[in-house]
């Protein structure tokens, strides 16, 4: 596989990305480790690579010296000892493995696999069957995937291992981590994605063309169908969200969106692949754009993002409504063909994205999110995607939570996929970022769904104090007791405010001032001749308030706070 790429003189996305990796200076502090790791890895790689290729030694040496040879990536990929999680190595591994996984299986093999699983409940049964069929065949290639998967984040590793076990054992286990998220759709899609990933590995050996080219055709067909089904299923959602689902991310989210959404907590490596692949296919699928997705990685992240963004707005344009699904499918097919092409006018994508932005506020956001995800994909600098998805997430949150979550998942998946080579810290940050907004999204959604309860304005604020009371009581309290506490608190605060008002009037003022409060505290017995107010302030209040309340004399006869 790597040989094919190495010998490939065409500027495929993969090669470009490799070149970028090679040329780019490490920005993360893990560089030192990576150098060490690379040094360690070279001896490991050599025997392994020798098996696969003859250029092992030279590539390994080059790698140690960080030479810019494409073959290096291949060797790195082949080495299964990718435990060192240097950004570069991880990314390289991803690059190497990604095409493998994304390698287009013979249609006869792949199509039946994705099609049935995408169907809701029935898919599960079919997917495991298909998996079983494919698993024994692709054991050798899968061995690479697990190693690569293991190199991913710890969470990913756990999930992947679990998932792999589940896959081996049967359907019930594999969708286990996913079931909690959603129903069958997600699990089925995930399994289907898994099927795809497992199925693809053997292809690279047989097919000499870049794996990206083959990928798109199959997925679009399935994705659209799933997407349509999902649309119908999610008809309960507000129309805006539904429309949003269809429009901006119709293509990329077709397949991966449901699967990714469901597999949010544990984006499996394969899922990431599928998502990334789908995104790729959807992105370039736009008639305007040629490829946009992997190309950007090669030439520049921004460009790639632009291409993707361009792709999305274009798709959204074409899919002004849900009717656009069909043309989308066609477009997807076309995109698939174009996927392999290098990044075309990336700037056009951006422009298109900008144009789209005016159309829909949320769509561009999502596009941006996807773009960010793409960025993360090709992002050698892991921190960039961190910031961008984080920023995008916040605006995206305002939009339909589903879409944003889906996009975040996609981003997350992609980020995770790309972050494997990236420093684990950055990955954790990235993953945590999408996870946090995602987790934050779910509760708010549930709250807004229900009707708003009318609360008594007087007792609204007392609820908080009642809870404090129950907390400090250190024992369970009856509801009636809490109500009585609320009543007492209400009276108390009323008295308090009356006293303050009277005190202020007594001093001929209309504004309540701290002196009135001090008088009140004296009446309460908190402030006595022995204990002054300042003493209480120092005892109970944090330092910031103390600074404000207790005047302090500074040099130059200045008193803070000014009185």
């Amino acid at each position: 596989m790597a040989d094919s790429y190495v010998s490939d003189n065409e500027p495929t996305t993969r090669t470009l990305l490799r070149r970028v990796l090679d040329t780019e200076d490490p920005h993360t502090p893990r560089r030192r480790q990576s150098t060490r790791a690379s040094a360690q890895r070279t001896p490991l790689e050599t025997p392994f690579s020798m098996r696969l290729r003859s250029q092992t030694k030279t590539t390994a040496s080059r790698r140690s010296h960080r030479a810019r040879s494409v073959g290096r990536l291949a060797h790195i990929q082949t080495s299964g000892h990718l435990k060192e999680q240097t950004p570069r190595t991880l990314l390289e591994n991803i690059l190497l493995t990604a095409p493998e996984s994304s390698m287009v299986m013979p249609e006869s093999v792949v199509k039946p696999v994705p099609a049935p699983p995408l169907v809701q409940s029935s898919s599960r049964e079919s997917s495991p069957g298909s998996l079983e069929l494919h698993l024994p065949e692709f054991k050798t290639p899968t061995t690479l995937a697990p190693s690569l998967l293991a190199t991913g984040k710890r969470k990913q590793r756990l999930r992947l291992s679990v998932f792999q076990q589940g896959m081996d054992q049967g359907p019930p286990l594999s969708p286990g981590p996913l079931t909690k998220l959603h129903g069958n759709a997600g699990a089925s899609s995930l399994t289907s994605s898994l099927n795809l990933t497992f199925a693809t590995p053997p292809l690279p050996q047989s097919v000499r063309r870049p794996g990206l080219a083959r990928r798109p055709p199959r997925r679009p067909a399935v994705d659209v169908g799933t997407f349509l089904q999902d649309l119908q299923d999610t008809s309960t959602l507000p129309t805006d969200t539904v429309l949003e689902d269809t429009q901006p991310f119709s293509q990329p989210l077709i397949g991966p969106s449901p699967s990714v959404h469901h597999s949010l907590p544990c984006p499996s490596f394969s899922a990431e692949r599928t998502v990334s692949h789908r995104a790729r296919s959807s992105g370039p699928g736009l008639p305007n754009n040629s490829t946009g997705k992997p190309a950007p990685l090669l030439v520049g992240k921004a460009e790639g993002v632009d291409a993707l963004a361009k792709g999305f707005p274009n798709t959204s344009n074409s899919l002004s409504g849900e009717d656009g699904l069909q043309p989308l499918q066609d477009g997807v097919g076309e995109e698939v063909e174009e996927v392999m092409e290098e990044s075309l006018s990336m700037s056009d994508v951006k422009e298109a994205a900008g144009a789209q932005g005016s159309a829909r506020a949320e769509e561009p956001e999502r596009h941006q999110e996807v773009i960010e995800a793409e960025r993360s994909w090709g992002a050698i600098e892991a921190k960039k995607p961190e910031a961008s998805p984080g920023d995008e997430d916040t605006p995206g949150r305002t939009g339909s939570p589903e879409l944003t979550s889906a996009t975040l998942e996609i981003q997350q998946a992609r980020q995770l996929a790309f972050l494997e080579p990236a420093p684990p810290t950055s990955t954790t940050v990235l993953s945590s970022e999408p996870l946090e907004p995602l987790s934050a999204k779910c509760p708010p959604r549930a709250q807004t769904a229900g009707p708003r309860l009318r609360r008594d304005p007087y007792k609204t604020g007392l609820n908080h104090y009642a809870k404090l009371f129950s907390f400090y009581a250190k024992m369970p309290m009856e509801k009636k007791a809490l109500e009585m506490v609320e009543k007492c608190l209400d009276r108390y605060f009323q008295h308090l405010c009356d006293d303050l008002e009277v005190f202020a009037a007594h001093a001929g003022r209309k504004t309540v001032k701290p002196e009135d409060l001090e008088l009140l505290m004296r009446r309460q017995g908190l402030v006595t001749d022995q204990v002054s107010l300042h003493v209480l302030v120092e005892q109970h209040l944090p330092l910031q308030y103390r600074q404000l309340l207790i005047p302090c004399a500074f040099s130059g006869n200045t008193v803070f706070p000014a009185q």
Binding site: V502, F503, H506, A507, G508, E515, D516, L519, R522, R523
Partner: protein
């Protein structure tokens, strides 16, 4: 020597306090007897003692509060406003005090008019001062 003086002072204060307490206790006893005869209820001595002790302590608190209120209003003399502020919690007491205050105010006004008349008549200064002193003391 200082300690002895302080000790003596304390003893004096204590004895003074005791005398005051005794006076309060006597007054409370008289009032309770009146109430008992009105309601035809018997009050034990412990009750009266408790009431007198509570009254005494409350008087101390009142004094401190009045001083605080006067200081809060940036005055050095306790006025009827401070007293009214003190009694605001109890509505009936507040009413009573307010009425009394109005009576006194009216009385003062009448007194002032009388004084003016007397002045116009050409009263002696000593009489005016004595009357002013009486008015002030009454206030």
């Amino acid at each position: 020597m200082e300690e002895e003086e302080e000790g003596a002072e304390e003893q004096e204060r204590f004895s003074y306090q005791q005398r005051l307490k005794a006076a309060v206790h006597y007054t409370v006893g008289c009032l309770c007897a009146e109430v008992a005869s009105d309601r035809e209820v018997q009050l034990s001595k412990q009750t009266i003692a408790a009431i007198s002790e509570a009254t005494f302590r409350q008087c101390e608190t009142f004094a401190k509060d009045l001083e605080m209120f006067a200081r809060h209003a940036k005055r050095s003399t306790i006025s009827t406003e401070d007293v009214k502020l003190l009694a605001r919690r109890s509505n009936s007491l507040l009413k009573y005090i307010t009425e009394k205050n109005e009576e006194i105010a009216q009385f003062n006004i009448e007194r002032k008019t009388k004084k003016k008349k007397k002045l116009e008549d050409g009263n002696k200064n000593s009489v005016e001062t004595t009357e002013a002193g009486e008015v002030e003391s009454e206030n």
